[in-house]
Symmetry: C2
Subunit: 408 residues, 2 copies
C-alpha cells in the first residue's frame, strides 16, 4: 500500500469540485508513477474547515479560492509552514507575484501555477524548464478563450460583436458580466505572469496597457478577410531597444502566423528565440476539468523530482494492436467500361466497406475513380485492394491513403 | 563566483559544436538561474579524449555520438558512475530504452532526452510532467521535418515527389541518402519513444508498422485539395480496444485538424485526453542550434529541481517600454470630397507614416478609406489619429488596429 500524499484544498467551486473528482479518479495511476497516493486531506470553504488544521494535516496546499484576499494570506502562511502550494489564481500572481515567489524561495518550497495561465497549454512549464537557458526575444499569446471565441464567430458568421458575445454567453464561454474578458484585463494579468517568466522582469498588471474587443465591428472582419488577415486579441511581450514591452490589444495577423489558425475558445502562445526560431503551444482555454487537470499536473510535479527516470510498467503495459479501424482514400485507375462500378461496389460491399464520397476523373481508357471510404478495419481494406488489383479493367494497383477525420 | 557545473561532452559534430557554443554563450544566464555555472569539462571524439577521465571530471554527461554502439555502453557506464545523462539519440532510446531507463532508476540518476524527439517541441517534458496524471487517449505527430517539408512543397507548388526531395536536399532539409526520413523509419523511432511515455508501455521500433512518402504523387495532392484535405506523414499512438496501436503512415487530414496547418520543416504533436480535450505543440524540426537548445534545457533541468520557485531578478531586470513601433490598419469614414486624400496624406506624412496598401469603399457621403500602414511609433500613429479625427470631412473617429506582420 503506497503512502498517502495529503492535499489540503482551499475552495471548492467548479474547479475545486472537478479537481477533487480527478484526484479520486487518477489516484491509482499517480501512485504507480510516484509511489505516493494523493488524497484530499481537508477542504476549506466559506462555511467549513479550519485553515491551520488543514495545513497541519497536508503535504501540499491547492489554492482555488481566487481573488486577492484571503488567498494571498493563506498562500503565504502555507509556504511559511513549509508546504508546497499549487494555485490557479492569475490575479493573485499578477498583483503579488514578487512577494509570493520571494516567500517560496525563502522557505524552500515550490509554488506552481500552470493553471493560472493559458488553460491546459503548458506554457509556464515550458518557459521555466525547457527554455530556462534560452534567450527569449518575443512572446505572442492568445490567452483568453472567451474573446477568441467571439472573434472567431464574428469572422466565421459575419455576426456583430453583440451577437457573438450573446452566443458565447449561451454556450457558457462568457460570463454574464464579461467585462474582465472582453476588456483585455484578464489577458493582461496572464501576460504579466508570462512576461515575468520569459524575461525575468517583474511586471504588474497596472503597468500593462490593454485594449479590448468591444469596439470591433463586422466591417473590420470583412476588410481583414479582403486583406488576407485574421483578427485576434493578442498579448505581446517583447524586447524593444534593450527594454521590455508588454501589452494586450486586438491585432491583425497574416494568414501564415501560427496564431492565425487558432479558432474558437482556445489559447495559444508562440515563443520566439534565436536558438529555437519559435515554438507554438495551443489547447482549449480553461474550463473546470481542464484547469483541474493542470492543477493535478502541478501537484504530481511537486510530489516527485520530475524526469528522474521513466517509470516502470508493471501494472500499465498495454497490448500492441496491429489491425486498426480507419477511414481511407482510394484511387483506382480503370478502363471506363460498363460494369466497372458494379464490380468495385461488390468487392467493397463484401468487405463491409462503405463509400463516403466519390469522384470520377477522365473518361474511357484514362478514367480514375477517387473515393473516400468510411472507417473500416485495415485488414479488410487491404483485402479489398488486393481483389480490386486483380480485376481486368484496373490498370494499376489501387492507391490507398489513410484519412484522419475528427468528424467521424 | 558561482561553482562550476561540469559537463562531459561525448561527440562533437554539428550538434556538439552548437551545444559547446551555446553553453559558452548562456553560462552567465544559467548561473543566475541555477547558482551553478555550466562549463564543458571534457570532450570525447573519435581521435581525442579518454572516456573514464571525462566521466571522472564531470557532473553530467551529454551524449551526442549517435548510433547504437558505443553510445549505449557509454550511457550505461556514465549512469553506473552516478552521472546524469542527457542524450539526443532517438535510435538508442527506440531500441534500448527499457534497459537505459531501468539503469537510470537503479542508479538514481536522470536520463533526459527532449532533443531525441520533435526538434525543439517540448513534447517529452509535457508528457512526463504536465500530463503525468492524465489519461492520454491518442497522440498524433508530425515528427519528421524533412518529409513535412517535401509534402508541403508538393502541395504548394504542384511539384513531384522527386522534385520536392531535390529541393529539400538543396536547402539542407534532407540528407544525400534520405531513406531513413522518407521511408518513415525516423518517425517510427520517435513514435516508439512517445508511445512509451504517453502509455507506459514499452514499444520497440521493430513493432511499429511504418509507411513512407516515396509513393505519393502530385495527383494525390490535387485530389486532396479538391476534397478539402491536407496530406501529411502522421505518427499515431492510440488506445484501441483496451490495447495500443502505434504506426506511421501518410494520412489525409481535414482542414480543421490542428496538424493540417503545420507546413514546412516543422514538427508538431497533438495529445488528446478526456480531461484536457487536446493540446498541440509545434516548432521547427531539429537543426543543430535547435537540438543544442533542447539539450541545454535538459541540462539546466538536471542542475536544479525545476520550479522550486521563480528566480530572483537582480541582474536581469529590463526597463518597461511603453511606446513601441508597429504596423497599423486604419479605417476612416469620410465625406468623399476633393482634397480629402491630400489632407490625410499630409497628416500621415508629417508623422512619418507611410502607407503600405490602400482601399476606398463606397462613394460620396458613404466613403470609407482602409489603409495598412508601415510600422510607426505608436505615439505618432495616435497623434495622427487625433489630427485626422479633427478634420471636417471625417465623420467618425478613425479606427486603428495593430497588424502583426512577420514579413516586415
Amino acid at each position: 500500500m503506497p503512502e498517502p500524499f495529503r492535499i489540503g484544498l482551499l475552495g471548492r467551486g467548479t474547479v475545486g469540485g472537478a479537481f477533487a473528482d480527478l484526484v479520486a479518479e487518477r489516484a491509482d495511476h499517480v501512485a504507480n508513477v510516484t509511489g505516493l497516493r494523493p488524497e484530499i486531506s481537508g477542504v476549506l470553504r466559506r462555511s467549513e474547515g479550519d485553515f491551520d488544521e488543514i495545513v497541519a494535516n497536508s503535504d501540499l496546499i491547492v489554492e482555488l479560492i481566487g481573488g486577492l484576499e484571503p488567498a494571498r494570506e493563506y498562500v503565504l502562511r502555507a509556504m511559511a509552514a513549509g508546504r508546497h502550494v499549487v494555485t490557479a489564481n492569475k490575479q493573485l500572481l499578477a498583483e503579488h507575484g514578487e512577494e509570493l515567489w520571494a516567500a517560496a524561495r525563502e522557505h524552500g518550497v515550490q509554488l506552481r501555477f500552470e493553471a493560472a495561465v493559458g488553460g491546459v497549454v503548458p506554457v509556464v512549464r515550458v518557459l521555466q524548464e525547457s527554455l530556462a537557458a534560452a534567450h527569449v526575444e518575443r512572446l505572442h499569446g492568445i490567452v483568453n478563450g472567451t474573446t477568441n471565441f467571439i472573434l472567431s464567430r464574428m469572422a466565421q458568421t459575419g455576426a456583430s460583436y453583440e451577437e457573438a458575445l450573446a452566443e458565447a454567453q449561451q454556450l457558457g464561454y462568457a460570463e454574464a458580466d464579461p467585462t474582465d474578458d472582453v476588456s483585455g484585463k484578464d489577458a493582461a494579468a496572464k501576460m504579466a505572469i508570462l512576461a515575468r517568466l520569459a524575461f525575468d522582469t517583474p511586471v504588474s498588471l497596472a503597468e500593462i496597457p490593454y485594449e479590448g474587443i468591444e469596439h470591433l465591428t463586422a466591417d473590420d472582419m470583412e476588410y481583414a478577410r479582403e486583406l488576407g488577415l485574421g483578427l485576434k486579441l493578442i498579448g505581446t511581450a517583447e524586447r524593444v531597444n534593450g527594454g521590455l514591452s508588454v501589452r494586450v490589444h486586438p491585432a491583425f495577423l497574416y494568414g501564415a502566423h501560427p496564431l492565425a489558425s487558432i479558432n474558437g475558445p482556445f489559447n495559444a502562445v508562440t515563443i520566439e528565440s534565436p536558438a529555437i526560431t519559435e515554438i507554438t503551444l495551443s489547447g482549449p482555454g480553461a474550463g473546470g476539468p481542464q484547469t483541474a487537470s493542470a492543477v493535478l499536473g502541478d501537484v504530481v510535479s511537486a510530489m516527485i523530482p520530475p524526469a528522474s527516470g521513466v517509470g516502470g510498467t508493471d501494472s500499465q503495459r498495454l497490448e500492441l494492436i496491429s489491425d486498426v479501424t480507419g477511414a481511407f482514400y482510394l484511387h483506382v485507375d480503370v478502363a471506363d467500361e460498363p460494369g466497372v462500378l458494379a464490380q468495385l461496389a461488390q468487392i467493397l460491399g463484401l468487405q463491409g466497406i462503405s463509400v463516403k464520397s466519390f469522384v470520377q476523373k477522365g473518361l474511357g481508357a484514362d478514367a480514375r475513380l477517387v473515393m473516400v471510404l468510411h472507417p473500416v478495419l485495415e485488414s479488410r481494406l487491404f483485402a479489398a485492394v488486393d481483389l480490386i488489383a486483380g480485376l481486368d479493367f484496373v490498370r494499376a494497383r489501387p492507391r490507398a491513403i489513410r484519412v484522419i477525420d475528427e468528424e467521424f
